[in-house]
């Protein structure tokens, strides 16, 4: 492929690509995101290639291995175009039938169709699966249609047209104004207006300036950035080049977690291809503008997601944050003006340039514009990545898209915003999700993790879990965070072990205040949020742990025991067989009993009972 040397060249190449592609030609899109990959996409792909060539269909059918489609619960996922036939949980053994029935005979394979757990109806098309039909996939939608290792796929889907528009028809100031007017806010957690950040960096003194992509996705339970980089890396790159042009920068970095090998690989390929095409590097599309990007692989420290820590880490140092009064847009990497945006934020930029600020601002709520990708995980039926307009209610996300709670248990809370966020209770399920509303509820948008919890999750344990995480990840340089988080964790650990005492809750609140006031960075400043929201909405659970030595969810060891409800137990003998301690006794078809002396509360019987006969006391 020759270098593209003008906007015209790019458009000509795009037209050619479109002409070569027959929309009626069968195309199998196979998800190879990290979720589906772990379920065995590679084996399915090999089988598919074999079967297709054995049937002499090689010339007539195209197989496309794509990034994450989002519906990770049902992987591996396959969509057959142009019909949009949706098959899920495919195994190698299913492949011959798919080829014979669907590709040759144009018939559906009924058993591979998705069955909606709510309506119990089978659905044949991807667009009709409720998980997808309630979404608005502006940023994430192309993932299922493009091969991330092939730049032509992205170009054929109007890729890099925003870049050409920006370089040849807009001034840097116009781009910044467009981003400001669109209302785009940072998707990494803070929600700072992107246009204002760019404008301050452009105005700051010092040369050169840097732009960076924060792909150090650290919030546990959030993986949208991983999936975007894996599945549509060019959209992130295109956003970065536009941003660099607007800010006046010729050098950029992508700081990505080394634990995301596929993301590192795909973004690396994307950079090389974009350079070959003249869409990145020197004299982009012969516009006179240069921009080069380097990948920097992180060393596995949560705190490096903080801007000043990330920039220190980029410089090969220990990632300790710096006081906030020095702004990184003025003094960032190498003490020079630097703009750091999150992966998803960058991916929004081409869309805004292509469709205009007004279009973008028409989606969402008053102060939160556009769509947001959430990772809906935990005790929910349809785990996966969900993109909805800002302002969509938690209920719609969890019940209409997520299909409700796993095993139809009782919803308890949804945790948003990672370790800086909080737990939102059932009473607030109708809350429209945007930056302000979540903060008002005591939680946070964060990067968009949504972890659903049910009756079997102990809220004290959840708070303890996050503090344990933060204690591990605290960089240790400021006393409030290093010592405060440690003390909070000690108190919570005691409460979970049944050693809580009067005054503990007040102590937690007191230390939380200190952390909030005095910590150097946001990691410490928000570290107590998981405690404060659980205290606010689930205080009775804390009190039960402290005064009654009881954990109603059956999580905290020693604070509960199992009993068999004789009326519900039909003596199916499953728990009898599964108990590793031989603590269950009773005759078949007769109600069983648990020997409390022998029981180690390992949860095996509780989880294996199909009749809800084992109860937590």
């Amino acid at each position: 492929m020759n270098r593209l040397e003008s906007q015209k060249d790019l458009e000509r190449h795009r037209e050619q690509l479109k002409k070569q592609r027959d929309p009626q030609r069968p195309l199998i899109s196979l998800c190879a995101g990290s979720g589906c990959g772990a379920y065995g996409t590679d084996e399915v792909k090999d089988a598919l290639e074999r079967e297709i060539s054995q049937n002499g269909l090689k010339e007539r059918v195209e197989i496309k291995v794509t990034g994450c489609h989002g519906f990770c619960e049902k992987g591996p996922i396959m969509v057959i175009h142009p019909e949009g036939t949706f098959y899920s949980q495919i195994k190698v053994e299913d492949v011959p039938e798919i080829v014979a029935e669907t590709l040759v005979n144009k018939q559906l394979v009924d058993r591979l169709l998705y069955k909606d757990p709510v309506s119990k109806q089978k659905v044949s098309k991807e667009s009709e699966v409720p998980f997808y039909s309630h979404q608005h996939r502006l940023i994430f939608g192309n993932n299922g249609l493009i091969d991330p290792t092939n730049i032509d796929d992205y170009i054929a889907m109007e890729g890099y047209s925003a870049l050409a528009e920006a370089l040849f028809s807009m001034s840097p100031e116009e781009i910044i104004d467009t981003i400001k007017e669109s209302g785009l806010r940072g998707r990494g957690g803070g929600g700072f207006p992107t246009g204002i950040k760019w404008a301050s960096c452009r105005k700051a003194h010092g040369e050169p300036r840097y732009v960076m992509c924060n792909a150090d996705e650290g919030d546990p339970g959030a993986y949208m950035d991983r999936s975007l980089l894996e599945g549509n890396p060019h959209s992130v790159l295109e956003g970065m080049v536009i941003g660099a042009y607007a800010i006046g920068s010729n050098e950029g970095f992508i700081y990505v977690r080394n634990e995301y090998p596929l993301a590192v690989k795909n973004i690396d390929i994307a950079i090389k291809q974009a350079e070959d095409y003249g869409l990145l590097g020197e004299d982009i599309l012969d516009s006179g503008f240069d921009f080069k990007v380097k990948i920097s692989r992180g060393g596995g420290a949560f705190v490096c997601g903080e801007s000043s820590a990330l920039m220190r880490s980029l410089a090969g140092k220990v990632g300790r944050p710096r006081a906030k009064y020095i702004h990184t847009v003025e003094k960032g990497y190498r003490d020079l003006p630097s703009t750091l945006n999150n992966v998803e934020t960058w991916a929004n930029v081409p869309l805004i340039i292509n469709k205009g600020a007004d279009y973008y601002a028409s989606i969402g709520t008053e102060k939160s514009k556009g769509t947001k990708i959430f990772s809906l995980v935990g005790k929910v039926k349809n785990t996966g990545l969900v993109e909805v307009p800002m302002g969509t209610s938690l209920r719609t996300i969890i019940y209409d898209i997520g299909g409700g709670i796993l095993k139809n248990k009782k919803f308890k809370a949804v945790q948003t915003g990672g370790p800086s966020g909080g737990c939102v209770p059932e009473g607030l399920l109708d809350l429209p999700v945007d930056f302000e509303k979540l903060t008002q509820a005591g939680a946070m948008m964060g990067s968009g993790g949504m972890i659903v919890m049910d009756q079997d999750n102990c809220m004290v344990d959840v708070a303890r879990y996050f503090l344990d995480f933060l204690q591990e990840e605290s960089c240790g340089q400021c006393v409030p965070c290093r010592e405060g988080v440690t003390r909070l964790l000690q108190v919570l650990t005691d409460i979970c072990a049944g050693e809580g005492k009067d005054g503990d809750l007040e102590l937690l609140e007191n230390v939380a205040d200190t952390l909030h006031e005095l910590s150097l960075c946001a990691l410490g400043g928000t570290a107590a949020n998981p405690i404060l929201t659980t205290l606010l909405y689930f205080r009775d659970e804390y009190l039960e742990h402290i005064h009654e030595k009881k954990c109603r969810a059956g999580v905290c060891k020693g604070l509960f025991y199992y009993e068999i409800d004789e009326e519900k137990c039909n003596g199916c003998h499953v728990c009898f067989r599964k108990c590793p301690q031989e603590a269950v006794y009773g005759e078949k078809k007769e109600p069983h009993t648990i020997d409390q002396e022998k029981c180690i509360h390992c949860t095996i019987c509780y989880e294996s009972c199909k009749f809800e006969a084992i109860v937590i006391k």
Partner: protein, 158 residues
Amino acid sequence: MEKSLLDSEFLDSVLQQNDYDQENIIMILQDITARYNYLPQEALEYIAKRLNLPRSHLYSVATFYKAFSLTPRGKYILNVCTGTACHVRGAEKIKETIVQELDIHEGETTENFLFTFETVRCLGCCALGPVITVNEKSHGGLDRKKTHDLIEQYEKEG
């Protein structure tokens, strides 16, 4: 690592790939880890000399970031995901099972250097939770029994 095993040719190639740039130290250490599974002291000393960095700087970086270990690790690194989604789906039980089966705690390696037990904050495949990776391969939907079987399978492969 014995002195004779110190492969200066390899270390030079790592430095070259990273442009002999002090700023790339994290990636240099990652590349060394990828080869040896840990950071041998001799390798750190060699790198410090070639990049003209104080050894204390390398030590601070190597001990700050979770990806690095200063002690040898096993052939199979069992990395239990302790992300929130895995936690609420029972990652704790997976950790307990590993402790019971292998008699090692987090951060430790079995005496035969077959397994090292570590945790990671989130692997980003939350739908599969609880998840562990064994070196680069992910295994999802685990419970006690499946964890036991998995360890057994790797023990057999040796």
